[in-house]
Symmetry: C2
Subunit: 240 residues, 2 copies
């Protein structure tokens, strides 16, 4: 009876945050699940190396099975949707067989994570457990050595992809902000920060806690574009 039950049991999908970059900033729970996983899954953009896998690599057993989700990075959404659908099918096949699958997610799975595209396809059929992780924003504030937000302050997380008017309106009504996914939008963001007289209160952190992390004052940056994984932390000095 117990045997029948075990055989009919489907596996669990774990969405595991591996944190911002430094492998030691993974949670103990993520470390335990990854190091004991039979199967892991992760995204690989345009066939390049996976950042999430690189972060987790010190903890991956060489015998672990790997589901690589090749993700075409294009503006059109259809190819990405097709890749997520294919990934969900491959993961579901393991879950049906009673195997657990640990999906590696940069930062925190539910904080701007692509895990949600797999989750929304599988969570109604299979048991899914999300293991939260340290976000790139927490990592960025630690890297610059300034509190991100305190007391009764508002914090806004603002994607740099927002249109300029919207970004300006949101920035003008907060004392603390994290502008994420900066990339090629840096020129626009800097010009808005300048208009609001916030350029000296803004710091750009690229690949926080990775070995090639950079920290620069926004006032000192002349480029129009920065790497995609750049966060700008804004703290209004007067309101600190």
């Amino acid at each position: 009876m117990a045997g029948d039950q075990a055989m009919s049991k489907t596996g669990i999908l774990y969405g595991v945050g591996v944190g911002p970059g430094d492998p030691e900033l993974m949670t103990v729970k993520a470390w335990r699940l990854i190091s004991s996983a039979g199967t892991i899954a992760y995204l690989s953009a345009n066939g390049s190396d996976s950042t999430a896998r690189a972060i987790a690599s010190p903890f991956i057993d060489p015998d672990t099975d790997e589901i690589i989700i090749d993700m075409p990075m294009r503006v059109e959404r259809a190819p990405a949707q097709a890749a997520y659908a294919d990934a969900a099918r491959r993961i579901a096949a393991r879950l049906v067989d009673g195997e657990d699958v640990v999906m590696l997610c940069e930062g925190d799975p539910f904080f701007y994570g692509s895990f949600m595209y797999v989750f929304e396809r599988l969570s109604e059929t299979f048991k899914c457990v999300v293991v939260p992780g340290v976000t790139s924003i927490s990592a960025a504030s630690a890297a610059i050595g300034h509190p991100l937000v305190a007391r009764d302050e508002v914090l806004k997380v603002l994607p740099a992809t927002m249109d300029a008017d919207h970004l300006l309106a949101e920035l003008s009504t907060t004392s603390a902000a994290a502008i994420i996914k900066v990339g090629r939008h840096f020129g626009k963001v800097k010009s808005i920060l300048s208009r609001l007289n916030l350029v000296y209160d803004a710091t750009a952190i690229t690949r926080a806690t990775h070995s090639d992390q950079t920290v620069r004052s926004v006032a000192e940056i002349d480029e129009d574009s920065l790497p995609y994984f750049t966060t700008i932390i804004v703290r209004q000095a007067a309101k600190r």
Copy 2:
């Protein structure tokens, strides 16, 4: 020569996030620093047990020295400021002697953390290292099994202590929000969410990932007050 140098070296203050509640949601780095610490420090509110110490307790060696910072929880700020000043003096005395001190912080030290009050008193004189942690907001979204924020959405973190007009204005211009420190402000928050027709998109999570975690739909809660460590996650269904 090397001996002289070692003797004159001051210690490092580590501000270590212990995560939201489940000890396994501590980072590997926090675990390493806490389990090998000679001296730890933490707040204790009104002489009660320390939440941060309780979270870290599985990893604290019985021989570790403990600096307990007794924090009077009152509306006036002066007694708390005096307690932080006293804590800074006691920690500084260890650092001057060349000892490292690991201060335990709930969640993430720089995300609404009281670590900043010690940090601002010591960071100009001593080397301080902040180890980011998983926030209660990431824990809350994992607990309810819904992505907190995705794609190019804005996320606002809004303390429930804000005045009603300000809270209403910020909530009416975002698809995703986390309302923190709910406590006795729940009645006000629920009435604002009702006015914005968001009450069915809002979930209250108390003590996320602790063993006594509760998750309830805001629409079903009739009390005027909830515990202080309650977060309300708002996700506008139409904008998902």
